[in-house]
Each structure stands twice: as structure tokens, then as C-alpha cells.
């Protein structure tokens, strides 16, 4: 691609989009580079939002992602609403049309909303603006209800407790993070929440909210009434593919791509000039089932964006994206670090489980083979597991 043509359009200015831009420039692309995002902000990193930013231990500069010097034409505060594959254009809300010769789809995922009406103090937590709003209200005497004790819900509860906020944390599963990490890790995390004074209620759902014009609390599935002045719905996120409807791409709870991060058409063949990276992608991996994997992890966005950018520039020699995933969560000073696919395991081996000391070491196996590991404050052991997983992955034929 040369400087004279329509250039590359990146839809999504979050981590995957920003890393794709940096990789395009690093690999020598000097043409026009346009980044579109529905949010008005320059690229920022999401992990600090629910950690340092909410805990008020850092300001917003901690979340900024470097984008200066990349020569980007920013189209911010505008939503991509339609993709025309044969015409090679992206249509924006308002009707403007951006032509492209290459496209990076990095629209991420959207938080699953509360399925029904709710008072205005019930919200989701995904963006910098969400973080600003919640940060402002924590520590002021408001009582917080967090719905869902997954990674996000857990971190919101922890940050809020750190600010002295009273927290109700409601989880439908028997333990927090059970489907992601299993019951042992879930009980470990539950103990951390309870030790910090969070009112954790498992096997429980929020049935309805109380207060018509201003939130006063919620009625739970067991009939209990809890009081709350604000509530955050943390019930997962879904790949943002609505704008791709009717474009002729394969959509299956995510934009489906091949192992080279190339978007697939409805016929199953890669579509030239369109690559995918980050939360929005559904991609194949030897350890995933036939439907492939969708991951919302930071490292996944970084690593897939690198491969996607490279393959957009050099389609004749595509690199393969076949990572050992890794992800993390920080709760009450415990650094939970995971590698591989713990959710795919059929058995867990618990080597250390010490909630009081903040230490955890669990290996996850499927059919006897290591597929993942989780540690708490044991990074050395995690590195050893990760090396084992990389070695095992290297034995799988490409």
C-alpha cells in the first residue's frame, strides 16, 4: 500500500487498535492511517480503570496509551455503523463514508446491559467516562451494589472497599469466577472479599431494583432486600459486531477469523485486506473447541494486533497467531496471574491454597495434559507453567 491510496482504516481506538497502528508503522507502513472510535478519547488502557483509577491511587495519565508520532488521522466520537466489503468503505453515523484499502476490525466488546428497566443510578463499567463517574462517587457514603463477581465485578468491589465504601456483591454461581477458574480458586477469591468486609452473596441473583426515580436498593432472588445508592452491572461483555451485520462476514458471537487473524467471509474463506484483533475476534486455537476462542484479555489484544497488522501488510507470507494466553486480576494486594485456558480444564491440581497468605498455585489439566495455571503472588511458578505450556504448544503441528 502506498501513500496515495485510501490507506488503512482501524475501527476501534482501544488497546488492539492502538497496538495495530504502532505495529503497522513499525513494519514500515507510511500511508494514510485513520482510526475511528465511538468514544471521544485518545487511546487509553482499560485495566487501570477498575484498579488504580477507581482506587484513586493514580490519575488518568496512568491509563493513557502512547499514540503520538504515529501519524494517525483521528475520527473520534463517531461510530462505525456499516461495512461495505466489495465497495471497500466504512460508513459512519451521520452518513460519512471512509474508503479503505486495508481494514483492522478492533471494535472490542460491549458490557452486557441490565435486561430491563432500571433507575438511573444503575450502570455498567467499561469506559473512561464510566470510571470517572464511579470514582467520583466512591468514598462519599454511597452504598454500592455490584452485580456479578467476575473479574470486573471483583475488582470494582475491591477498589470500592479500599475507598471505605459499603459493598454488596451478588453472584449467581456458587463461587466468584467459578466458570473461569473453578471452585477452588473461586473459594479463595470469596475468602478475600469476605475478609475485606464485602457482603458477598453467591447462588443469588438480583430480581429487581427498588426506587423508581432514585435507586434505593434491590430485591434478591431469595427475597432479601439490600440497600444501595448506586449499582454496577458486571455481567460480562459481548463482542461488538452489530455494525458488521449484512457485510458478508462470518459472525458467531464475535467476528470469526483464521489463524492469521484474517476475517472470514460467510463462505469460510479469508476476505482480502480485512484483519481482526482483540475482544471482537473469534479465532482458532489448538486447545479450543471447534468454535474457537473469544478472549477479553489484555495480552490477547496486544499479541493478535501485532499479527493482524503484519499480515495486513504482507498477506503473501502470513504469520500465525497461536499464543499461550495470559491474564490477571489484582484483589486486595493479591496478584492473581493466569496462563493458558483454565476454563477448558476437566481437572484441577491444587499445589498451594493459602488465602491468609495470599498464595495460590493451581494447575489445570484436560485429558491429563496441562492446559492452564493460576497463581496468587507466585510469579516464579507461573513462569514455569507458562514455559511448559509453550513447550506443549510447540509440539502441536502447525
Amino acid at each position: 500500500m502506498t501513500a496515495g491510496d485510501a490507506g488503512i482504516v482501524v475501527v476501534g481506538a482501544s488497546l488492539a487498535g492502538q497496538r495495530a497502528c504502532a505495529a503497522l508503522r513499525r513494519h514500515g507502513y507510511r500511508g494514510r492511517l485513520t482510526v475511528v472510535d465511538a468514544e471521544p478519547h485518545l487511546p487509553y488502557d482499560r485495566p487501570p480503570l477498575s484498579k488504580e483509577l477507581l482506587a484513586a491511587t493514580a490519575d488518568e495519565s496512568a491509563a493513557a496509551l502512547p499514540s503520538a508520532g504515529l501519524g494517525i488521522d483521528w475520527v473520534l466520537g463517531r461510530r462505525a455503523r456499516r461495512l461495505d466489503v466489495p465497495g471497500r468503505t466504512v460508513e459512519l453515523d451521520g452518513g460519512d463514508v471512509l474508503p479503505f484499502t486495508g481494514l483492522v476490525v478492533a471494535t472490542g466488546s460491549a458490557p452486557n446491559p441490565w435486561p430491563g428497566t432500571h433507575p438511573p443510578e444503575v450502570g455498567v463499567f467499561r469506559t473512561l467516562d464510566d470510571a470517572r463517574a464511579l470514582r467520583h462517587r466512591l468514598g462519599g457514603g454511597d452504598r454500592l451494589l455490584v452485580i456479578g463477581a467476575g473479574f470486573l465485578g471483583g475488582e470494582l468491589a475491591a477498589a470500592a472497599r479500599g475507598r471505605g465504601t459499603s459493598v454488596e456483591l451478588v453472584e449467581a454461581q456458587p463461587q466468584p469466577l467459578r466458570s473461569a477458574l473453578g471452585p477452588v480458586a473461586g473459594e479463595f477469591v470469596a475468602a478475600l472479599h469476605r475478609a475485606a468486609g464485602v457482603s458477598l452473596r453467591t447462588r443469588t441473583r438480583v430480581g429487581s431494583f427498588t426506587g423508581d426515580h432514585r435507586l434505593t436498593g434491590a430485591i434478591l432472588s431469595d427475597g432479601t432486600r439490600v440497600a444501595a445508592d448506586l449499582a454496577v452491572v458486571a455481567l460480562g461483555a459481548s463482542p461488538r459486531t452489530g455494525w458488521l451485520a449484512g457485510a458478508g462476514l462470518r459472525i458467531n458471537r464475535g467476528l470469526v477469523c483464521d489463524r492469521h487473524a484474517r476475517a472470514l467471509g460467510t463462505d469460510g474463506a479469508p476476505v482480502p485486506g480485512i484483519v481482526v484483533a482483540g475482544d471482537v475476534a473469534r479465532w482458532p486455537h489448538p486447545w479450543a473447541g471447534p468454535d474457537g476462542a473469544v478472549l477479553g484479555h489484555w495480552t490477547h489484544a496486544v499479541e493478535q494486533a501485532e499479527v493482524a497488522a503484519r499480515n495486513l501488510l504482507d498477506p503473501a507470507h502470513p504469520a500465525t497467531y497461536r499464543p499461550v494466553p495470559s491474564f490477571w486480576s489484582d484483589l486486595y494486594g493479591v496478584r492473581l496471574r493466569a496462563v493458558g485456558f483454565p476454563a477448558f480444564a476437566d481437572t484441577v491440581e491444587v499445589h498451594e491454597n493459602d488465602p491468609d497468605g495470599g498464595r495460590l498455585d493451581i494447575a489445570y489439566r484436560r485429558d491429563g495434559e496441562l492446559v492452564g495455571a493460576l497463581t496468587g503472588n507466585r510469579p516464579g511458578r507461573l513462569a514455569a507453567y507458562r514455559a511448559q505450556l509453550a513447550e506443549a504448544l510447540g509440539r502441536v503441528p502447525a
Partner: protein, 70 residues
């Protein structure tokens, strides 16, 4: 090549250890150890390790520079 890790910023994500285990490692007490002047031929992996750090704690500079550049 000069490598510097700001250990006040490091959160033990281990991404650098995954990417360049001959340069970065955890010791028996789970403290990060690293070689401050690895051989020049390790540059590509070290730069990849630095860019994989979620908290951007690693800076890589040219050989002989007193203070590594960001």
C-alpha cells in the same frame, strides 16, 4: 544494549520472563531479576518483552548509554 526495569512500577506480570527468559527471571523469593546489559543479539526479544509489559516498567537503551531511553 542497556535494560532497566522500574521495580517500583513492576507488578510481576511475568510477560518479560515469558518473552526473554534468559534476560528476565524470578528468583526463589519471586523477585524479578534481570541482566542490565544483555548481548546485542537479544535486542529483538528484549524489545518485544518490554512492549509486552502491561505497566510499561521496562526501558531499553543503546549500549553504552548512561540512562536508557524510553
Amino acid at each position: 544494549m542497556q535494560v532497566h526495569v522500574d521495580l517500583a512500577v513492576c507488578q510481576s506480570h511475568g510477560q518479560c520472563v515469558f518473552g526473554a527468559p534468559d534476560v528476565f527471571s524470578f528468583d526463589d523469593d519471586d523477585q524479578l531479576r534481570y541482566s542490565p546489559s544483555p548481548p546485542e543479539e537479544r535486542r529483538a526479544d528484549v524489545i518485544r518483552a518490554a512492549s509486552a509489559c502491561p505497566v510499561r516498567a521496562i526501558t531499553v537503551g543503546p549500549s553504552g548509554s548512561g540512562r536508557p531511553a524510553a
